[in-house]
């Protein structure tokens, strides 16, 4: 059973993000992490491998820095990793990204594709389904349970107020929802293996893609503007003895803010 896992390196949830002067670029503090939902996907792939043998391949599209996400995958137990790295891939939308990923996946036979249900940086949740579309495969979104047997997979998906059980023919693509599993923490030996691992790379040319098909030129969606979230008013600290400060706090809540 060969499982491909698509992962994305995202800004660390604690990284500072500022909107650039042009309104469409982002100035992101250089702190990164693997997308949380992708960790569920890797964990599930490793569990499938443990049960059915085969191999787990992790793929990401990104800059050199994104190798860290691939190394995390190997540290957890993945067998192979591929970095899709090309100037031409940069600034693409979900469509362009899904096209590149689907070409990379199709290079070798596979049975299952797993990825997170969404990346927690832009929250669009579109790349997984689009990859399935490009490859002409069934797509099951937001799975909570996955059982594989005899070329078929049975998955549980959350629906409003309950769960739905679906069955698909393999190969198929599944996106992982929180609750699918508890991702393992990499072992020291795993991290050492990951640090030594050779990471394969592929460019647009390797995947038979013209530059016009990838990145910004190949995109269907264009970012027009980013707007910052509404600023929270500054915290007000009330000085003085606890009792007096509490009385003042109540006065503000009742007379000034009128929330009581």
């Amino acid at each position: 059973m060969n499982v491909v896992v698509l992962v994305k390196q995202i800004p660390d949830p604690e990284a500072l993000v500022a909107i650039g002067g042009d309104g469409v670029s982002l100035d992101i503090e250089q702190k990164f992490a693997m997308n949380l939902f992708d960790e569920f996907a890797i964990e599930e792939a490793l569990r499938i491998k443990a049960k059915h043998a085969g191999k787990v391949k992790v793929i990401t599209l990104g800059s050199r820095k994104a190798i860290e996400a691939l190394r995390t995958g190997i540290a957890m137990g993945a067998d192979e990793a591929v970095l899709l790295e090309d100037e031409a891939f940069l600034a693409g939308d979900g469509y362009a990204t899904a096209l590149v990923l689907s070409r990379a996946i199709a290079k070798e036979p596979f049975d299952i594709i797993l990825c997170g249900r969404q990346a927690i940086d832009d929250d669009r949740g579109e790349v997984g389904p689009m990859v399935a579309q490009f490859l002409g495969l069934p797509h099951v979104g937001g799975i909570l349970k996955l059982d594989v047997a005899d070329g078929r997979a049975v998955a549980e998906v959350a629906v409003e107020g309950g769960k739905e059980t679906v069955e698909v023919q393999l190969p198929a693509l599944f996106t992982a929802q929180k609750g699918l599993n508890e991702p393992r923490v990499p072992l020291i030996t795993g991290v050492m293996r990951a640090m030594k691992a050779q990471i394969a790379r592929a460019t647009a040319a390797d995947l038979g893609l013209a530059t016009a098909q990838a990145g910004r030129p190949g995109s269907k969606v264009k970012v027009v503007q980013y707007s910052p979230p509404k600023k929270k008013p500054a915290v007000q600290i009330i000085p003085g003895a606890p009792r007096e400060a509490a009385i003042e706090a109540v006065r503000i809540l009742m007379d000034v803010e009128r929330v009581l």
Partner: protein
């Protein structure tokens, strides 16, 4: 069990330096760090002196990401509502080679960790080492979670609270009197504003020390270091004194009061608070040094109690770098000989004695006895403040001759049995 050459516990200066040297010598090294990254759990003030360490980090120290080179020292002695400030500037410090730099350890340690990785060592963060593995009376590896990793030698560089030294039975149980708590805040401030406010040229920095009423008579003091575009402000208070207070005040409150003092506000005003951190510091001096080795294991840096408070200077980083390098040298020799016995590793202590690490610790063995004198934090700041108040105050009535006022202050605070004892005790330093 398969064994790597060396496992280093802790990614601070001692651990990273040890890893750097062992990896350079071609040894297989794993460094395990508990925090998200080397330096992430560090609360150093801080300032680092270059001369003592440059030979222990040869070649690379010139590219180190320091903040500002220190060109002046400011000492502020505080009474409850008055203060005296002394500024010492030295033109020699304004030209290279610079004597000392302010440093942000998250940046510095991150840089050093990269250098270590380039040499081929495995620097693995987010790994807490839980225990040591033993074969008879020798350490042969570590346990982290469910994982056991064998090693010919373990270097414990896991900081002031070193659990490794404790697990190995090398350290006595902790005594509150031997430790101080340090609280540090980092304020962001424009680079140019820092230059102007402290009277500095670009790239220059100051080290500021505060002593007196801010610790309410307890052992300790405050510090303020200028970084490139931040200020590190902090307070250090003896834990022994903190827990013996009649009217207990939390250290965090002392920090708040300290930051609110006008003598501090003048420097930090307008700064945006970016970080708040706390840690413990060993204050025991030579008396707090554990046994430094056992079969298959060496202890370095803060874990070995290598920190020295001389009041005006507080040193730990230089000792960490030097002891890390010396530990690596001895470990490499031991690996080459295939002799990891305690008997062979005892040369680590010998080499530390030959270096400034144990000789400085020994020279200033009694510094703590002098600095622990409460009068340093109460009587003397008050004396200074009242003396100057007497000299400067002009009121309605007749002014006493200056000499009479000064004499009265001196009599009240200094010229007594306690004062003589203090003068006598300073000889110990």
């Amino acid at each position: 069990m398969d064994k790597v050459d060396a496992i280093i516990v802790g990614g601070g200066l001692a651990g990273l330096t040890a890893a750097y040297h062992l990896a350079t010598a071609g040894r297989q090294v794993i460094l395990l760090e508990r925090g998200d990254a080397p330096g992430s759990k560090n609360v150093t003030g801080g300032r680092i002196y270059v001369d003592p360490i440059k030979d222990y980090l040869p070649g690379i120290i010139a590219e180190a990401p320091f903040e500002r080179h220190v060109v002046k020292e400011i000492i502020t002695v505080l009474d409850d509502d008055a203060s005296v400030q002394l500024e010492y500037a030295n033109d020699r410090w304004r030209s290279e080679p610079y004597m000392s730099y302010t440093v942000l350890r998250a940046t510095f340690d991150g840089w050093l960790a990269e250098k270590v990785s380039e040499k081929g060592a495995f620097v693995i963060p987010k790994k807490k080492v839980d225990d040591l593995l033993w074969e008879e009376d020798r350490v042969v590896g570590i346990k982290a979670g469910d994982e056991e990793i064998g090693a010919h030698i373990v270097i414990a560089a896991d900081g002031a609270l070193s659990f490794m030294a404790e697990k190995a039975g090398l350290r006595k149980p902790l005594e509150p009197r031997n430790y101080a708590v340090a609280i540090k805040e980092i304020y962001r401030l424009d680079e140019k504003t820092i230059d102007d406010r402290f009277g500095l040229q670009p790239g220059e920095g100051t080290a500021n020390l505060f002593v007196g009423a801010i610790t309410r008579g307890m052992f300790g003091g405050g510090f303020l270091y200028t970084n490139r575009d931040t200020l590190s402000l902090g307070i250090v208070v003896g834990i022994g004194d903190l827990i013996q207070q009649k009217d207990p005040v939390a250290a965090s409150l002392l920090m708040e009061e300290f930051a609110a003092r006008p003598e501090v506000q003048r420097w930090i005003r307008g700064g945006e608070l970016k970080e708040y951190a706390a840690h413990i510091i060993s204050e025991a001096g030579a008396g707090g040094i554990p046994k430094l080795y056992t079969g298959g294991m060496l202890v370095a840096g803060d874990a070995a109690g290598f920190s020295l408070n001389l009041g005006l200077t507080v040193r730990g980083m230089e000792f960490a770098v030097a002891s890390g390098a010396i530990a690596a040298g001895v470990a490499d020799e031991a690996l080459a000989k295939g002799d990891l016995s305690a008997a062979f590793l005892s040369r680590y202590e010998q080499k530390l004695k030959e270096s400034f690490v144990l000789s400085d610790m020994e020279t200033f063995r009694h510094a703590r006895d002098v600095l622990e004198n409460k009068r340093l934090f109460t009587v003397y700041p008050k004396f200074l403040s009242e003396l100057l108040a007497a000299l400067f105050t002009i009121g309605k009535g007749k002014k006493e001759p200056l000499y009479t006022s000064a004499k009265a202050a001196v009599r009240k605070y200094i010229l007594n049995w306690e004062g003589c004892k203090d003068l006598f005790s300073v000889r110990k330093m």
